[in-house]
Amino acid sequence: MTAKVVTVTSGKGGVGKTTATANLATALAANGAKVVCVDADIGLRNLDVVLGLENRIVYDLVDVVEGRCRLRQAMIRDKRLPELYLIPAAQTRDKNAVSPSDMVRLCDELRGEHDWILIDSPAGIERGFRNAIAPADIVLVVTNPEVSAVRDADRIIGLIEAEEKGPARLIINRIKPSMVKRGEMLSADDVLELLAVDLVGMIPEDENVVVSTNRGMPVALDERSKAGQAFRNIARRLNGEQVPFMSMNDDGGFLGRLARLVRPGGNR
């Protein structure tokens, strides 16, 4: 078994890197793969809370790198999926506590016993980002259909190419179909045309993401959630399956359209 290393990055903060990492890891593990996710956002760790594992942390990534514990001791087993593990980031250190070659060594040690290693990158283009992409076989760039997120995604895609880790594959997160339909939000096609990279998934805006994050239970486990379905589809695409892209045209049906038509300012 030789794991593929997938790094999830974005440039801009707050676009959904951690949510995407948690959900892809969950969806892959739910299909029976052996998955370990690594939180590379040292100093600002969050993958643990999104996965609902924050109370189980004893050792972290920096403890492993600095030799205070064995790798196995820092791997937290998921509550629900026995083949899903998390290596949490240190909270009281900074990005310089780990180097790109530390990350390569760590992943080489993990590769033999897993199918997938998912790395949650910090925002930015500095050391933390370089740590996160150093061991990557595949780089996923998360963006939102907003100018600042698209611009930062373009920058990060360029850096990924320069590091010879490309071509990056794009996830467009938090699409609001009703706004796209009104011409008030960049569509997935617009974003793809601007960034000129391959699309691996589109995630519609979905309140279930907030609810599931509150509970520490990734939305990919929610059979009824559209965002959950979108993440499960991306996991299948990573496995090489051809999965058609989900339609982003659900606007709440006839009643939803009627409500917007009647509401004052509805034409905006």
Binding site: V147, E184, A196, N267
Partner: protein, 89 residues
């Protein structure tokens, strides 16, 4: 209602379209690290160099950044001055 009327008479551009056009320009300059001002200066210098060798009409020169996927290229279109006018002038 004003916005509705604006749209009806084509005065109001949808914000997504506007965002896309703005981003196209921003990304070109981000990727090439070439500002619109620098491009303009490059054009002026290029015209003056070429004018030393051939007769050209500076107003007919176009220099732009073209895109193909994630690749950018500088495309210059520099027409010779027509022969007839060259003799006359």
């Amino acid at each position: 209602m004003n916005r509705f009327l604006d749209r009806l008479f084509g005065r109001d551009q949808r914000s997504a379209q506007l965002a896309k056009e703005r981003m196209k320009l921003v990304l070109i300059h981000d990727r090439t690290d070439l500002s619109p001002q620098a491009l303009e200066k490059l054009k002026d210098e290029l015209i003056s160099v070429i004018s030393r060798y051939i007769e050209i009409d500076p107003k007919a020169v176009t220099i732009d950044i073209a895109q193909e996927g994630r690749e950018q290229r500088l495309v210059a279109d520099i027409p010779f001055k027509p022969a007839a006018r060259r003799r006359a002038g």
